[in-house]
Symmetry: C3
Subunit: 266 residues, 3 copies
């Protein structure tokens, strides 16, 4: 998709996201991530590349305490461990009580018997942003049958009604990722058709988007601006990385370089 | 080893593996991986690069349920966690009952007191393919003393008798990895002397071979063809990656690009 | 910092570290790592790139047994899991009884309620080397308030008194990492101002330094020489990698190539 990408100078999507991106680099927020084991390293490396700082402890014994150091919290339900099952609800409760922004990424909910009701229950703690694919956002409100593993079996457009329902319950923003991304808040909606076909060829790029969304919520009270900036950041980094990559391995490396590069002064 | 590698056009090993490789790319099978934490990301990225799709949940609460979505199952005993100890037997039982193909990778068995008897017991659930190094395959039938960690202390050739014994018990195929790879079924045997000296310099390339073997079993009922195609795929990707790499870090990146490239039309 | 780096031929830091580096490549020691999930793969890949061999099992059921195969042990408290909480004390006890060298990396201690007292208690088992940032080394002796996540909030210089106190208790060496690294033993002290600003932009480079320190303790009885060689190895690899990198993603890849390259005959 990069062939028709505008140059940075006239890229309206980038112009809109730039203040939030700059604020993340300036503030270097500490993001507590309770996230999938399989993509933990990409999430941490991606946050560092973007200028934020990761922290990943997930046990009930330590996560609720150390989250008080964080500027924002990410809860991603992928590869949910026994430690995570115990640690997540208590950690979210601390974030809720402290009015610390948090992001819910309901990875692979649908038929999974623990994470699906857990995700639905966590909506009550009003995440600033919910980030998921179409199948996941639909499963969150009991629609559809879930995807296959981490992959959506529903088109992004079909999740619009579910996204509006989640927004109604949380008062926050929902970002539905797919070929066309939908960012929906109580008051605004944007569709983005950017990014790279190589993004789903690397494990954890969706998880990284969730973590970067949390980093953006740490630097602005506007959850819609945060979700939109994070989605744009990953999409534009994906376009830049694709233009330099020869396959999924080199794309992964270039993506980290590009996250560091997007939105800097030319 | 790449200096003497034949060109793709006249590579007989590739020609033999190509139909299975093409079927993985066409079918994009969903592979449920209960696998070592340390190499989880390379396994997932390698499956994605090859055109398959990974899923990694391992708890007793969720793994047996979500495995019903999968086209094949990988069980790798490396860095076996408490979650994995509980989740693996029940998940294998679901695969067995559904006649879903599954692959056993008995990583680092020998003196390890939980995984060694577990691996031996799991043989009774008749994995389509067992993939391991010489020490591991020997330990599976009570021969030898095991390796040192994930490394074999036995030559691949010395495992031939053990491989035949495993085949006798499972009715499936055994792939013994090493400088010379041995693929053994009830009716056939192939030795392959391909690959790269850099493959054992990157963590998890053996685990990735096990996962890719599972992906191949998802697209053919012939477990021997599946094991041979996966072994060839990784070996040829290793040769191509070595020809482009300047060390183990760049080799790792090039390996993922090469998995995506091997066997495509020129 | 690489612009002013001396060439390998006249690099006195490298000359001092070279015998230990060569001994690791020659001996290929097996290093048992009980370490943070988030950086497990970089730690393993870094050990392999350096010529050592990793092993990562952490459960109470298996870790104390398999550690008897290892040449040295690393205990890193980052992202401490329930399995790690149970497995670490028993595994350290085996290392202590066997006089096997071990390294303690007290990642992110401070306010974390389990790992902080655990780290302090483990000092009694006399690690050959303690490797941490300034905040972590201070928290180990009850000074300071800890860092923020894995980041130090104290300058390396401020940890000198704490480092001396740890040395007094263990009789071993302490390596305090930062812009200026301090390596302190009962009888010697060195400050190093080498490395790259990109090292803290990649997750787990500190953990890798701890693991490489363990590899060095496996090939020399001199814990000070081991800690100094490992610190130098990572710093010089960082300088070389920075000179070839275009961002944090390519730096990570180049770092692994450079670990394999540093100190080889020109």
């Amino acid at each position: 998709m990069n062939s028709s990408a505008p140059t940075p100078a006239d890229d309206a999507d980038l112009a809109r996201a730039r203040p939030v991106i700059a604020a993340v680099r300036e503030g270097a927020p500490l993001i507590h991530c309770l996230t999938a084991t399989v993509s933990m390293q990409l999430v941490a490396d991606g946050l560092l590349a973007a200028g934020a700082r990761p922290m990943m402890t997930e046990t009930l014994d330590e996560a609720p305490v150390v989250t008080t150091l964080a500027d924002a919290l990410l809860v991603n339900l992928g590869t949910l461990s026994t430690d995570g099952m115990a640690g997540i609800p208590a950690t979210v409760e601390v974030a809720r009580c402290d009015s610390r922004p948090w992001v819910l990424d309901p990875t692979a909910i649908g038929i999974a018997p623990v994470r699906t009701p857990l995700a639905q229950k966590l909506l009550g703690a009003r995440p600033a942003v919910v980030r998921g694919n179409a199948s996941e956002v639909m499963a969150l409100v009991g629609a559809g049958t879930g995807g296959r593993g981490a992959d959506s079996t529903a088109a992004p457009g079909s999740a619009e009604q579910a996204a509006r329902e989640v927004v109604r319950r949380t008062g926050g923003t929902v970002a539905v990722s797919g070929e066309v991304d939908l960012v929906q808040s109580p008051h605004a909606q944007v569709r983005l058709e950017r990014g790279s076909v190589l993004l789903p060829r690397v494990t954890g790029t969706g998880c990284l988007l969730g973590a970067l969304t949390a980093a953006c919520t740490a630097v602005t009270d506007d959850s819609f601006a945060a979700a939109l900036a994070a989605t744009t950041w990953v999409n534009l980094a994906g376009e830049l990385a694709e233009s330099r990559a020869t396959g999924p391995g080199s794309f992964r490396m270039q993506l980290l370089d590009a996250l560091d590069e997007i939105g800097r002064c030319p």
